[in-house]
Symmetry: C2
Subunit: 164 residues, 2 copies
């Protein structure tokens, strides 16, 4: 990984995972590592938000032998959806999943490459619960501990492979 | 898969792959099938455009034992980028990759879930070539033959798992 200062805004140090994705061994280790920390939560399904969450999310689902649910920006999913709005630093954003994505009682694992403030992850978990699923935990490649995203996601179990 | 009439616009029948992603066996078959048709092209890397291309793209890279390069909408990649614009039905769109994503001579496979008119795929292939890589082919889950995307992508070898 490499750090990019002042992206996307001044003062933010962006964790760029593209060098990790480029290296076959690192890519494999990332997915294997995520499967090891997420497996004991015994999910039936992995859900991840676009776009970066999709990169490792489907691979993680395959490694765990479960299905994958994409959570998307409004207007992108073609069938009936449910939507959650969540606060950004300035304004609101929203995320949608298909209303038939989760059968009642499905054990859902939320994945994203990075846990920052946890707003998107929390919104997606709430959508899963709204549809009758059980959120068994969240698995991140990277967690930025100082942003305290864990607090937003309490009481879900949080697993992360790399912490800063 | 299911078909959604009149999405995203009237007259378009959208191929919704979310039921396939949800079923672990179908998800595994899709990735295995893509790896079987793409493997003989002997790529060193898989490149895919956001957002839907990411879902199976990284899994395909893992199955082939190669790395993954994300192609993104403008402004999303944090390091130095190269950009290609391409025509939509109305207006222009653009896609970017990191300028250091491909070493010279890298054998690149383009993946997307769907080949329609081929505009995005062609733009990404051109970026890879601009950076000195060799595009060894394109592998799609679904190809809509009647839209003639193959013509846009000539002379790259095209492989698709499901044709309509």
């Amino acid at each position: 990984m490499r750090e990019i200062p002042d992206f996307p805004r001044p003062g933010i140090v962006f964790k760029d995972i593209t060098p990790l994705l480029l290296a076959p061994d690192a890519l494999r280790s990332a997915v294997t590592g995520l499967a090891e920390i997420a497996g004991p939560l015994e999910p039936d399904i992995v859900v991840a938000a676009e776009a970066r969450g999709f990169i490792l999310g489907a691979s993680l689902a395959l490694a765990l032998g479960v299905g994958f649910v994409p959570a998307r920006k409004p207007g992108k999913l073609p069938h009936e959806v449910v939507r959650a709005e969540y606060a950004l630093e300035y304004g609101l954003d929203a995320v949608e999943v298909h209303a038939d994505a989760f059968a009642g009682g499905t054990r859902v694992l939320l994945h994203d490459d990075l846990l920052a403030t946890g707003g998107t992850a929390r919104a997606v978990c709430q959508l899963a619960e709204h549809l009758g699923a059980e959120v068994v935990g969240c698995a991140f490649l990277i967690e930025l501990r100082f942003l305290e995203g864990r607090r937003q996601l309490a009481p879900y179990p949080i697993r992360s492979l790399i912490e800063y």
